[in-house]
């Protein structure tokens, strides 16, 4: 039913991703589908890495660790975006489309005030994409 599972990753907050990763792993086994991790960085240094190259390496290492831990194949895809504040969702969305993903697994916090006003990434993706989305809370 689903052939390829996508998971957007925030390398600065991998601790909040755990349940989403576990869910994705179960789904990957249930549907026999590989998992594509996509993370977005800016060309300038961020909290996570000093440049996009280092960012890509960190993401690859994270994917490798997850593959080992869950026994499912996680593939890493780092994307560079000039203005992640506004264009993060769009960049993720394009990446998942290019990769042929048909099911997204997205981690989200419990809804708070800010998310009502400006919508969470998860809510935005769930409302604006034409892919199936699992929002994990």
């Amino acid at each position: 039913m689903y052939s390829r599972i996508g998971v957007p990753v925030d390398l600065a907050h991998t601790d909040t991703l755990e349940k989403a990763i576990e869910s994705a792993a179960v789904l990957a086994r249930a549907f026999a589908a590989p998992i594509e991790l996509v993370a977005v960085t800016s060309p300038s240094p961020s909290e996570v890495a000093r440049d996009p190259h280092a960012f890509g390496e960190k993401l690859a290492a994270y994917a490798a660790e997850l593959s080992r831990r869950h026994g499912v194949r996680f593939t890493a895809h780092a994307r560079v975006c000039d203005d992640p504040t506004v264009a993060l969702d769009r960049t993720l969305f394009e990446a998942f489309h290019e990769l042929g993903v048909d099911l997204l697994v997205v981690a989200s916090h419990v809804p708070g005030v800010r998310e009502y006003v400006f919508s969470s990434n998860a809510g935005w993706l769930a409302s604006h994409t034409d892919l199936s989305v699992l929002v994990v809370r």
Binding site: S42, P43, S44, P45, S46, E47, R50, D51, H53, A54, V80, D82, D83, P84, T85, V86, A87, L88, V113, R114, V117, F118
Partner: protein, 554 residues
């Protein structure tokens, strides 16, 4: 393993690079490590609070005691432009020479963002954004006004000069202010930020450009001061621009439609600009600023071609060559401050411009840096110096030559009158009256002004947000919206309450410390680029040695 000679060479290069102290300092500081995250904000700890509260206090002061503020800040302005004329002119010359040196030296080959980086914007978009962020607005107001002004009152005490000579001097004096020098200032700041951020992994804030000078202390108070000053200059520069710009745009609208230029019209203009800028902010860099910049460059080209085709086409085209020559001929005299007697031109025009460009340089520089990853230092400087300078020379010649023709050959007083009566906001519209389709072209002019302001406010919010978030790019959207609305409110408050002049003086005042920063920046950037070059040479020598070894082994 490389052989002994090779190894010695590599060690030698690495030693040289280490001597610059620039090989591994990037790991010491993490972007955002001083940030506080609360109330949905993500901002740098002292910088956000200090700059925000100081700005509010200063504005309250200017609104509560307008007389005192005008006195105090007005004196600063006079002192700056009269006492420090030599300093600003020397710094500007030095920066331009430094940029030319970088282009010619092997350091120009260093690529921003590392050897593998590739440019993310084509030249056309890149140049369009350069204009939109910074001083594109200037071509709208000064294109007609400035050549005409200098033609009426020639600089360099050359009152006796007449005819083609006088027009050449007027154009040279205009081009001097808009070509090369300002772009060298912006290039230096942009280059420094881009290099230390993209190549050295330092956060995208002003202080990073001074790391080689201050070392780790830069994360403390020396750095805070630099960043606060940058926020200060950017916000006041933008807010006063917005205030004056709204007065001018409202003046144009009022003139065009024959309605009174009342306060409500100005507030409406600022509100409209802020509203559109918010829309642009929410669409992001590519969907907002880039798109609007390209549209505006296209629209400006239409207006330029219109005037070129319907104006004195041949005079303009031959003027291009003449006036470029005049610029080169007069440049030594114009850029030299010793023994000058044309105080009015040198203080009220040259020194004012130089201070203004320097005050705006953190904003424009950081914006250029953000869109320049992937270009080499040489490409960067050549493009940033040549392209806008060429466009300005072309534009100023089209509008200046036509305006001077209207006055000197046709004897039409229209534009000269706006200069004499100091109604600069009307120069362009009066000028366009001599052309067919006046209403259409004037409306296009108003639209261009408005859209340039929209892009300035959008990029201003973007930059101030980054500056106050410790160089973080991924900030909450609400924060950028906050700055955009803050800028709009600041503009309205200053315009209604008075104090635009006081705060413009304050923005100009920040040019002095920034000139000092700029001197240090040249040292920093030179050392940084040299170290980078050496490190690259080490890497190259290593990989060559390995390749040789592989051949020997194989």
């Amino acid at each position: 393993m490389p052989n002994k000679k090779q190894a010695a060479h590599i060690d030698e290069l690495a030693e040289l690079a280490r001597a610059e102290g620039l090989d591994d300092y990037t790991s010491e500081h993490r972007v955002g490590e001083d940030n506080i995250k609360t109330l949905g904000l993500d901002v740098h700890n002292p910088v956000f609070l200090i700059s925000g509260s100081t700005i509010v206090l200063v504005v309250v002061f200017a609104l509560a005691l307008p007389g005192l503020a005008a006195d105090v800040f007005g004196q600063w302005r006079v002192a700056l432009t009269t006492q420090l004329d030599w300093f600003f002119m020397a710094v500007a010359n030095l920066v331009l020479l430094f940029c030319l040196f970088l282009v010619l030296s092997p350091l120009g080959a260093v690529r921003l963002g590392g050897p593998d980086a590739r440019p993310r914007y084509g030249y056309a978009s890149w140049i369009a954004m350069l204009f939109a962020a910074g001083i594109g607005i200037g071509i709208m107001f000064y294109g007609v006004l400035e050549p005409m002004t200098h033609a009426l009152t020639p600089p360099l005490s050359a009152t006796g000069v007449t005819g083609a000579e006088r027009r050449g001097l007027a154009m040279a004096a205009t081009i001097y202010h808009w070509a090369f020098h300002p772009w060298a200032v912006y290039s230096l700041v942009g280059l420094s930020l881009a290099f230390f951020s993209f190549n050295k992994g330092l956060p995208l804030v002003m202080r990073s450009a001074l790391y080689p000078v201050f070392g780790e202390r830069i994360w403390g108070w020396p750095g805070h001061v630099v960043d606060v000053l940058a926020v200060f200059a950017t916000l006041f520069g933008l807010a006063t621009s917005l205030g004056f710009g709204a007065e001018q745009a409202a003046g144009g609208i009022a003139y065009l439609f024959g309605i009174p230029n009342a306060n409500w019209l100005r507030v409406a203009v600022i509100s409209l600009i802020t509203f559109l800028a918010l829309g642009s902010v929410l669409r992001g860099l590519d969907g907002g600023i880039k798109l609007l910049s390209e549209l505006n460059m296209g629209a400006a080209a239409v207006l330029g071609v219109f005037v070129l085709a319907l104006g004195p086409t041949w005079d303009i085209l031959s003027g291009l060559v003449q006036y470029s020559g005049a610029y080169l001929r007069y440049l030594p005299e114009l850029s030299n401050w010793v023994g000058r007697e044309d105080d009015y031109y040198m203080h009220n025009w040259t020194t004012f411009y130089w201070a203004w460009w320097i005050a705006f340089s953190p904003f424009v520089g950081m914006f250029i840096a953000r869109i320049s990853s992937g270009r080499t230092v040489r490409e960067f400087i050549v493009a940033a110096l040549l392209a806008p300078s060429a466009i300005f020379i072309l534009w100023m010649t089209i509008f200046g030559e036509t305006a001077m023709n209207q006055y000197f050959l046709e004897g039409w007083q229209g534009v000269a009158k706006t200069v004499r009566e100091f109604e600069p906001e009307l120069s362009l519209f009066v000028f366009l009256e001599r052309f067919p389709l006046t209403l259409l072209t004037s409306a296009l002019g108003v639209l261009l002004v408005l859209v340039f302001f929209v892009t300035s406010m959008d990029s201003g919010s973007l930059i101030v947000d980054t500056m106050t978030a410790g160089g973080k790019i991924e900030t909450p959207v609400g924060q950028r919206i906050f700055w955009c609305i803050f800028l709009g409110l600041l503009g309205v408050a200053l315009m209604l309450g008075g104090g635009l002049n006081s705060l413009q003086a304050l923005a100009l005042a920040s040019a002095f410390p920034f000139s000092l920063v700029m001197l240090l920046m040249m040292v920093s950037l030179y050392r940084g680029l040299r170290a980078e070059r050496l490190l690259l040479a080490v890497a190259e020598a290593e990989s060559e040695a390995e390749a040789e070894l592989a051949v020997e082994g194989g």
